[in-house]
Symmetry: C2
Amino acid sequence: MNPTDGPLCTIDFEPVGKRIAVAPTTTLLDAARAAGVGVASICGGEGQCGRCRVVVMTGQTSAPTAADRLNLSERELADGQRLACQTRVLGDVKVYVPRASQVIEQRLQIEGAARRVQVDPSVHAHAIETSGPSLDDPRSDLERVTDALAPVPGMRWTAEPAVVRPLPALARRTGWRLTAYARGEEIVGFAAPGRKPIGFACDVGTTKVAGYLVDLETGEELGAAGVMNPQIGYGEDVISRLVRATRDAAGAADLARVIREALNGLLGDLAAEAGVARDQVVEACVVGNTAMTHLLLDLPVDQLALAPFVAAASAALDIKARDLGIEAAPGAYLHVLPCVRGFVGADHVAMILASDLDRKPHAAIGVDIGTNTEIGLARPDRGTLTSASCASGPAFEGAHISHGMRAATGAIEIVRIGATGVSVKTVGDAPPVGLCGSGIVDAIAEMHRTGVIDDRGRMKREIEGVRVADQEPEFVIVPAARSGTGRDIVVTQHDVNEIQLAKGAVAAGIETLVEATETRREDIKEVIIAGAFGSYLNLDSALAIGLLPRLPNARYLQVGNAAGVGAKIALLSRAERERARNIARHIGYVELTTSPGFNRRFALSMLFPKRPVYEDA
Amino acid sequence: MNPTDGPLCTIDFEPVGKRIAVAPTTTLLDAARAAGVGVASICGGEGQCGRCRVVVMTGQTSAPTAADRLNLSERELADGQRLACQTRVLGDVKVYVPRASQVIEQRLQIEGAARRVQVDPSVHAHAIETSGPSLDDPRSDLERVTDALAPVPGMRWTAEPAVVRPLPALARRTGWRLTAYARGEEIVGFAAPGRKPIGFACDVGTTKVAGYLVDLETGEELGAAGVMNPQIGYGEDVISRLVRATRDAAGAADLARVIREALNGLLGDLAAEAGVARDQVVEACVVGNTAMTHLLLDLPVDQLALAPFVAAASAALDIKARDLGIEAAPGAYLHVLPCVRGFVGADHVAMILASDLDRKPHAAIGVDIGTNTEIGLARPDRGTLTSASCASGPAFEGAHISHGMRAATGAIEIVRIGATGVSVKTVGDAPPVGLCGSGIVDAIAEMHRTGVIDDRGRMKREIEGVRVADQEPEFVIVPAARSGTGRDIVVTQHDVNEIQLAKGAVAAGIETLVEATETRREDIKEVIIAGAFGSYLNLDSALAIGLLPRLPNARYLQVGNAAGVGAKIALLSRAERERARNIARHIGYVELTTSPGFNRRFALSMLFPKRPVYEDA
């Protein structure tokens, strides 16, 4: 059947109350995206992750697919439950999107550790005051204003046509009193007199995007905000999106478009709130992992998705903000910080910049735990900085965990098992809905401490609270009666194994890097934990499960979104931008997957430590 | 009546055989443009020029307007003749476009005088040969190729995302053997190995566009071609177009779009013919009068259309060719040469460059006669170069002349009046259709020589061949029996007056400039006549009617399209581009309209010289 045949089908999405008309055979997931209804999807619509579960309440749809049957029981199918990505509409339908399948706004970590930066941005404002043209002085508008700029010997001012375009009307409106924004010899914009130059820094994460508006004269932050990365609708993890982008040019274009629109919207919101005009925004600085910056710039990712996983470009790139559809001063640049490798991105460079990892007086580690975990190790005694990257999977972000979720309202972030049973604390103190990363780590540490799981991670069926469902043991964290979903919130044996894989990868990654750089663990005087997950992480639990190396708590520093702070630093200072370039060019890289002993260490690291022992104090 | 009401009207254009459906009340001129039928219009659809005369053969149209009645007799109206710009369709109609109203392709002057240039373009090709990535060498693609570029101390290669985009696929296809095109430190494109860098030079005239494809390594011209400037459909003269552009943003956008498309098409044709790939075209260089370059770049022209007629920008401007929709290497620049003033454009600077006017050992004049005439006067004894500009009107281009036309097939270019009557020569030796510029000058010189007109330009009714039509005397050049239109081709008293105005403006302009620079006429050892009209001009006739100053023929040099040659020179040489900048910045300018004595001189120059007398030899 041709998708465009027949009359359109009307779909009502409940409980959000959105309606859309689509061609017959459109999938419910595509329809939801088109209607702006956030339906969760990790695999990007491939029928693999089972997260896009919805209930078809009324109306005709296609028959269940093999993927439906793999993810849903006969009873669930009979109840109308279906995977949105597998289900095609054949008539008007009413669809219920359960809370667990809804993509919801997340609590974002956008506060980084403060770090002093000498403000010397790439763009400066110059005040201009001149007189208008006459028959005796028929100089062109641009010549007139550049002649009025403070004369710099040898300086030859240039301006693109896009920058000249608004000048004639503006100059006549302001009586030839203007602000010119210059980036070296290039004028990137004109504005009314007295308008300060403003910058926009942005950390494009796989899940979230953090933006900052900064006064480029004082360095003062005028606003900060976060939004979800809308590419989530095309796959929650990096690989799904790379696959999507490599499949066809339209996929890549879609991924580029939605993130560009998100950046533009984020900037617009920040500017409106701060009372800043768009044409005052004269420079943007963006960081992100290599895949995110490639997708933003619509650079090819084919070679990034396959071994040896190389970037199309690793140097810092400048592009006109307008070329990305980002409304700013007409000539404003968007500067993307350099990356190191395919899986060590500009966000890692920015983290190093923000945490001063390259300037530590002692051996130090910086680690940003996420779906992909990047680790940097500084050895000032040798003048080296070495990085490694490991695929830790999305478990710490709540994915691939039965009742996992991101750190949104209702997410369990703290778990304690005491004499009276399990107690939890949720984000926003709302009724518990699921477990976010820090909650899972907490739960598993507590389960191990209290003997619910043994050192190999096996759940003990004889322990109270452990039960067997679908032939698999599971441990109840919150019973249905107290949960916000009306269902038990549990940690399954599978979940424990997922966390073992994830923490094993991170621990083995750190250990391998430490060994590859011939560093003694006790010489590591500082471990910087960056990123949202890392900031909410309970350090004791992380050490207890062996996620992080056994070092005294005092050596750990949880710094929040260091990548975002690094973006701000590079926005504010040309010297720091130059420093980022040097970091990216001179950083060493250890390929873990081919490092001797990594696999053995990975296997060992999946075990739980007998008990937390600090090797020194 | 709302233009979109009712069913569409179908219009058939004959004899071209094109059909289009338009909303009721659309004018025939707009419909013709939309259908791609070239209907002549000088005034841009204002009902003034009367050139868009068509015949409504069948179907219902709006009633004749005042403009129709002013331009057409009652009998012509009764025959169905109408102005296309005034006539709105009210139903299906069949329209006949007479030959005289058709815009036809013109013989273009694209051969300039040869001038030696040291080839040193802004873009150079570099051969790259390197190896692909591996786990041991996971450098990014861009890093890999820039590392392989010949190392230049301190050189920091950059490339825009648009340039990086095709690199991964190309490099893998060619086995990491590539050509990189670099402009300073910026890589503007990559291509297969051995691909030469090619440049595109372009002279955007008000009427015609001349393009040249040039090998940037040898300077060899690979092809040259000309097309009509499609903006003609929006008004034949500069002012009509400026009015159109200032009326609304859509008008300016339309004017920009059509000329950009023309440039892109011209480049495409040249490249296809020369067997050059688009991604080998790494730099473009464009000249034109100030209005043309502003319209191409979509720069504001409000301030250009009103006194004191200032440009938005007079400096040379660089813009990415892709930003104009011109397909070339992804990072290729289009360089627009600097202009001098609102009415002394980049084409004048290019003419000076091509003719070496700024390096003459003696006093010399360069003049490009057109709708607007630019004059440059070099005084090497004083180290000055001074320009002036006068509005000479479009008469020399065949406009505002009863049977005027451009130098297309059938245009009379030579006229002689002998004992046996008038003899003519036409372009392509086709049956005569009208008079082009050189033909009109010839005709009027001959009419004056033989006493058909007196020194004041009055036509003598008693002379054979002179007759009176509509109370105005006219002189028959070609009788209907021998013409290609079936109508008499005549020169009217009005035509003589138009030429008097035009030649008076040019002559007075030259004289005023000569006087303003305190130059003695006899010291002028060289007069360079540039441009298409100037190259076909019969010098004796031009001197006979007093269009050009009375100097020996040997001092005159007709150099053809010097502006186009100047564009090629600036394309080939950075030094010459720098020289153009200096010319534009240091050239003096004489405002004729406010110069003392200009108006008196103008009035006197409208007379015809008693007879050609050479003041010296």
